[in-house]
């Protein structure tokens, strides 16, 4: 399952042993610890994990938008080129043009003081030397592409005049303005209604079919994973704990955390009076990480061996950060139902 290292099959994005730390009032904390993942051209990789597990930080690290954080180790390779320590001006030519991002909250992710047309024109003109008129044409095209009705009129609208779903469509339009090769969608539907969520996901998949853009889909919704992902990378407390194809991970999760996540999904056929399964305890604080397995304190299967640091081990067709999985645990029933 590991991406081949030969240059012929170099993945679009490769993250190796990535460490990210943030300066805070009480010293530095490590938000990412040895993250490995890769994304091939055109494929959809879902990054899952609870809040604070480092999913968004990974995305921001790729874009070089960590703010007061910094990459303290490891390497990010984009399209065969090391962009780990790239300067802001170098990264500017990648952002929006080659790698684009859609953020979680469409209500606050557009500048309220400019029309959406203006913002799309701006997104396009950052990387294309065209007149405003030509860019405006492109803006109308983009709005049409993402399914906004009456795009000619809507370019003059301000963000506050649009619904949440429409704003997220505009965000997608802006992200796709320059035909990027990778789209990072950071919980793109968390802030939306369920019905709108389905529409937006369908739109993203449709655009992916049409443009062949790679997708890094950050989510904590296993239903979304089942529906969209080719491969899945599970994050816990700043580390990758399990990675593999979506089918493998959803059908036969090996890491206890992944299993617990899948167990926590409410189903339509769950009896009402049954308590929602939840993972006991909380994620350890970033400045107080155990040296051994980071999930051990919450793991129902933890043993004395879990006090030792757990490397991400290559198993047959997947990677797992746990010493136990090859003992052969019970296999969960397939998760395909979740998608419907």
């Amino acid at each position: 399952m590991r991406a081949p290292t030969g240059s012929a099959n170099e993945p679009l994005l490769r993250i190796e042993d990535l460490h990210v730390e943030f300066r805070t009032g009480g010293g530095t904390v490590e938000a990412l610890n040895a993250v490995d993942l890769w994304i091939d051209a055109g494929e959809t990789v879902a990054i899952v994990g609870e809040s604070g597990s480092g999913k968004s930080v990974t995305a921001l690290a790729v874009l070089g938008l960590l703010g007061n954080g910094r990459v303290s180790g490891g390497r990010i390779t984009w399209n065969g080129k090391d962009i780990t320590g790239a300067s802001n001006s170098e990264m500017r030519s990648v952002r929006g043009k080659e790698i684009s991002v859609i953020f979680q909250d469409p209500m606050t992710s557009l500048d309220p003081l400019f029309t959406i047309g203006h913002q799309l024109v701006e997104a396009y003109r950052i990387h294309h030397d065209v007149t405003k008129r030509q860019a405006r044409q492109r803006a109308v095209e983009l709005l049409d592409l993402v399914g906004i009705p009456e795009p000619e009129a809507k370019v003059k609208a301000y963000p506050h005049q649009l619904s949440g779903g429409q704003r997220q469509r505009v965000m997608i339009a802006g992200a796709l303005a320059c035909d990027p090769r990778l789209l990072i969608a950071d919980e793109p539907t968390t802030a939306l209604d369920v019905t709108v969520e389905a529409q937006v996901l369908a739109l993203i998949r449709d655009l992916q079919d049409r443009t062949g853009v790679g997708l890094m889909l950050i989510t904590h919704d296993m239903g979304v994973v089942a529906e969209m992902a080719d491969r899945v990378v599970v994050f816990y407390a700043g580390q990758v704990v399990e990675a593999g194809t979506a089918d493998e991970i959803l059908d036969r999760p090996q890491h206890p955390y992944t299993r617990a996540l899948l167990d926590a999904i409410p189903r339509r056929d769950t009896p009402r009076d049954q308590e929602m399964p939840a993972i006991p305890g909380a994620v350890p604080a970033l400045n107080d990480m155990p040296s051994g397995c980071r999930f051990a304190t919450r793991c129902s299967e933890a043993g004395p061996e879990c006090g030792e640091p757990q490397p991400l081990r290559d198993l047959d067709r997947r990677q797992v950060r746990c010493w136990r999985p090859d003992e052969g645990h019970g296999v969960l029933e397939p998760m395909v139902e979740v998608a419907r």
């Binding site: 043009k97 684009s100 991002v101 500048d111 309220p112 997104a123 005049q161 802006g174």
Partner: protein
């Protein structure tokens, strides 16, 4: 948009009417009366002469009637005549208005010209040495009373450079360079607090906006920092800065009263100063109404600027 403007203007006029009423009543509470000030000290003044003068000035009538006359004149644009020299109040004020407006505008210009870049630099280099120095200076700038700052400026410039501002005022049309030299120190003294408030407000609002989601979006699309800071963050930060500026106009107008005295500038400030001394009620009232009108006008303009900057305010106004 028009409705919004109309509503703001109506509120403004209401406030102005209230101010005029209050001042009308308050100045009559100041001890001492104008007739005694004018006549009493002269030798051989009889009670009959005092009564006659009181009647001439209309001060023998009940306060309510006096107020009625005042309002009647006001709505026709007539502010009455000065108790001192009998000339129309409007004429006296209009003679003095240009110097005050010039001083006020220069003070604002100074505040904006220095406050905006200082705020920008502070925000971009926040928590750096230069930011800390500027924030410290800003606190000082806001705390020093303008007349005290003016006296310091005069003293130290005289002490160190042997330079002092011209004593005789020249209007800009007579001698522009002498006029500007004359206005320099009072404008700086008056504008220092404005500069400090703008720098502080711009710094904090820029920092807040720069951390917001839409700025992250714009950065994620590869925009340059210049576009991010000046165009997007800058525009969003303008509303609180304009608010501060509108309020600062109030203290600048108040400051002109004493600074015009210190620097011998024949503006409205020195006019009202003299008028208070002489209990020249119509002139005091006239000046206060002019000051109030300027302040309210500026703040209506600020309200309208909000709507120009922020479409959400614009449309809220339209639908209301």
């Amino acid at each position: 948009m028009l409705l919004y403007a109309g509503r703001r203007l109506t509120y403004g006029l209401l406030v102005l009417a209230l101010v005029a009423t209050l001042v009308f009543l308050i100045i009559r509470l100041i001890p001492g009366d104008v007739v005694r000030l004018q006549l009493a000290d002269a030798p051989g003044v009889t009670q009959a002469q005092i009564d006659q003068r009181t009647t001439e000035l209309g001060l023998d009538e009940p306060v309510l009637i006096q107020f009625g006359h005042f309002v009647g004149g006001l709505v026709q644009g007539d502010l009455g005549t000065s108790f001192d020299d009998g000339r129309p109040v409007t004429t006296k004020i209009l003679e003095r208005l240009p110097a005050t407006l010039e001083l006020g505008l220069l003070a604002i210009l100074f505040g904006v010209l220095f406050g905006v870049p200082f705020g920008l630099i502070s925000a971009i280099r926040h928590h750096s040495l230069i930011d800390n120095v500027m924030r410290f200076l800003a606190v000082i700038g806001m705390s020093l009373p303008n007349f005290w700052l003016a006296l310091l400026l005069i003293t130290f410039l005289a002490l160190w450079f042997g330079w002092s501002p011209p004593l005789v005022y020249a209007s800009p049309t007579e001698n522009l360079s002498q006029n500007l030299i004359h206005m320099l120190l009072p404008a700086i003294a008056l504008g220092a607090a404005t500069m400090a408030s703008i720098a502080r407000m711009l710094r904090s609002s820029l920092l807040e906006v720069l951390g917001s989601n839409f700025i992250r979006t714009i950065r994620s699309r590869g925009a340059s920092e210049r576009v991010v800071v000046l165009k997007h963050a800058g525009r969003s930060s303008m509303i609180p800065v304009f608010t501060v500026l509108g309020l600062q106009v109030g203290s600048i107008l108040g400051g002109t009263v004493i600074l015009e005295r210190i620097f011998a500038i024949p503006g409205m400030g020195s006019l009202i100063f003299e008028a208070v001394g002489q209990r020249d009620y119509p002139v005091i009232l006239g000046c206060v109404i002019f000051y109030g009108a300027i302040f309210i006008f500026v703040n209506v303009v600020v309200d309208l600027l909000y709507a120009v900057i922020d479409p959400r305010i614009r449309y809220e106004g339209a639908s209301a």
